[in-house]
């Protein structure tokens, strides 16, 4: 059974300036358990909207979205979200931010902190437990956001361009760490990105979306062993293929 099933999802936004806007057009997609699926598409193609529907932040206009066979009605801790911006509570320090979901469940402070330690080590933030987000760099805050999602031990982790705001070097490090975490812990990840390289470095399945209204242009398995060498012929073959899909898309829009 697939971990996430999307059946004929469409989403129409009603915008007072432009009227009705079809953002997602009849998307069907199965995401298997332990998949690392990268949703690749240009800005404004609706990939974040699709992720928000799985997260439960938004409802589809039509169609159904299921996680483990259960319809998604609202956000919940079975689906951890890593946001584009870290979205930490500025009034809580690192360890409290990471273990906030446990506090909401009424767990004691000492127990919480015990549990959080493992994840602080995992994302390499040892020594920064009692720093506030305002005292950390963007990359460090993003790690806190990842640790927060991992600690919830969710069945699915949803990531919305989490590394988009980072510099090239930090981005590389974080991508490697994420792959290592995924290989060790084996969870289902849906990762939204507009970067072809990022999608091909991370995913074992790649879904390429069209421009708005968003559809799935093609979905394929990508089993290149890791660490992936982004200069290897196999990587470049895949990249050439994806880029040609994207190029087809953009010429389609220019000549309607």
């Amino acid at each position: 059974m697939a971990s996430i099933e999307l059946r004929n999802i469409s989403k129409i936004f009603t915008d007072p300036k432009r009227g009705e806007l079809l953002t997602l057009d009849n998307i069907s997609l199965d995401i298997e358990v332990n998949d690392f699926l990268c949703l690749l598409g240009p800005s404004g193609c609706g990939k974040s909207t699709l992720l928000n529907i799985v997260a439960g932040f938004e409802q589809p206009t039509s169609g159904t979205a299921l996680v483990d066979g259960i319809p998604i009605e609202r956000p919940g801790s079975d689906r951890g979200v890593v946001f584009q911006h870290p979205t930490l509570m500025p009034w809580l320090d690192v360890i409290e931010n990471i273990s906030l979901s446990l506090r909401l469940r009424g767990m004691s402070r000492s127990e919480r902190h015990e549990r959080a330690k493992e994840f602080i080590d995992l994302v390499g933030l040892k020594g920064f437990e009692h720093h506030f987000p305002s005292e950390l760099s963007g990359g460090m805050n993003q790690r806190v956001g990842i640790a927060r999602a991992l600690l919830m031990n969710p069945r699915v982790i949803l990531m919305d361009e989490p590394f988009a705001a980072l510099d090239a070097q930090t981005k590389l490090e974080m991508q490697e760490e994420l792959v290592a975490i995924w290989e060790r812990r084996r969870c289902t990840i849906v990762f939204v990105t507009h970067s072809v390289d990022e999608a091909l470095v991370l995913g074992n399945r790649i879904a390429v979306m069209t421009r708005r209204p968003g559809r799935i242009r093609e979905i394929f398995d990508f089993d290149l062993p890791r660490q992936r060498d982004i200069t290897s012929p196999l990587f470049n073959d895949a990249k050439r293929h994806v880029l040609s899909l994207i190029r087809e898309e953009s010429t389609k829009v220019v000549s309607p």
């Binding site: 932040f57 009034w91 506030f132 987000p133």
Partner: protein, 264 residues
């Protein structure tokens, strides 16, 4: 060291000029008491050594405490009700529609204009003063709380519900702390209003406190005591604000690096 001296130049010049002008006899001494005689009255009022302030001699602490208690009672009440109502209006469309028109209609009415009603409702004592302080302190707290709640980053709420927070937890663990900087801004405005209204109420509807001493001394043409009372009010208002600022710096220490000391 240089900035230390600069800080004192203007006040010293003003005080000296005032002292000289007052002693010159250009105006009757009773109408413009010199700083020295204000200090004299104030110190006798505080410690009571030569009874220049007559029946007030040595009674300052009692008067100050009477006023401070009214400020505190009205302010505390206004803070509780203001934050509660502000969160309700900011968070729920239903409360916004039900409460806001009435409150916004009451807001422009100067609290002072409630004095006649306050006196017939509550008599001459602490209650009308506390009522007026409440009215003056309530609206700044309310408005700032509404603003704070309405401008909470939507993504923080999303993060909260993603972590499985209940509606109640979203309010207490996410919305309220996120709105705290605005709420504190409201509290600081409110404490100032609270002192203004305590003194106003004491001049009219109460027979004790700094405002009462101020108004009573005016009838006796003791402008030195009037000024001593003004200075006392300013000083206590300053202390109250300092207290709130202290609590704020502690509560909002997570943003200390970006606001309180973050400029340098």
């Amino acid at each position: 060291m240089k900035t230390r001296i600069e800080r004192f130049i203007v006040p010293v010049v003003v005080l000296l000029g005032w002292e000289l002008f007052s002693r010159s006899g250009y105006l009757p001494k009773a109408l413009l008491p010199a700083p020295s005689s204000v200090v004299h009255a104030l110190s006798d009022w505080v410690i009571g050594y030569d009874e220049t302030t007559q029946s007030y001699s040595g009674h300052w602490a009692k008067d100050a405490i009477a006023s401070a208690l009214r400020v505190f009672a009205g302010f505390a009440l206004a803070s509780l009700v203001g934050v509660a109502a502000g969160v309700a209006i900011g968070w729920s469309r239903m409360f916004e529609k039900a409460l806001e028109p009435l409150l916004q209609m009451l807001r422009p009415i100067p609290p002072v204009s409630w004095i006649p009603l306050a006196i017939i409702w509550f008599g001459i004592a602490d209650k009308p003063a506390i009522f007026l302080v409440f009215l003056g302190a309530f609206f700044p707290v309310l408005m700032n709380t509404i603003h704070g709640v309405k401008t909470v980053d939507k993504n923080l709420i999303r993060a909260g519900s993603m972590m499985g927070a209940t509606e109640r937890q979203l309010l207490t663990s996410f919305v309220l702390p996120a709105a705290l900087p605005s709420i504190f801004a409201g509290l600081r405005i409110a404490i100032g209003s609270a002192w203004m209204l305590t003194v106003t109420a004491e001049m009219v509807a109460v027979k004790s406190g700094l405002g009462y001493v101020l108004w009573d001394s005016y009838y006796f043409l003791r402008y030195d005591i009037v000024m001593a009372a003004m200075i006392s009010i300013g000083f206590l208002g300053f202390l109250s604000d300092l207290g709130i600022k202290g609590i704020m710096a502690h509560t909002l220490r997570w943003q200390a690096t970006t606001t309180v000391q973050g400029r340098f």
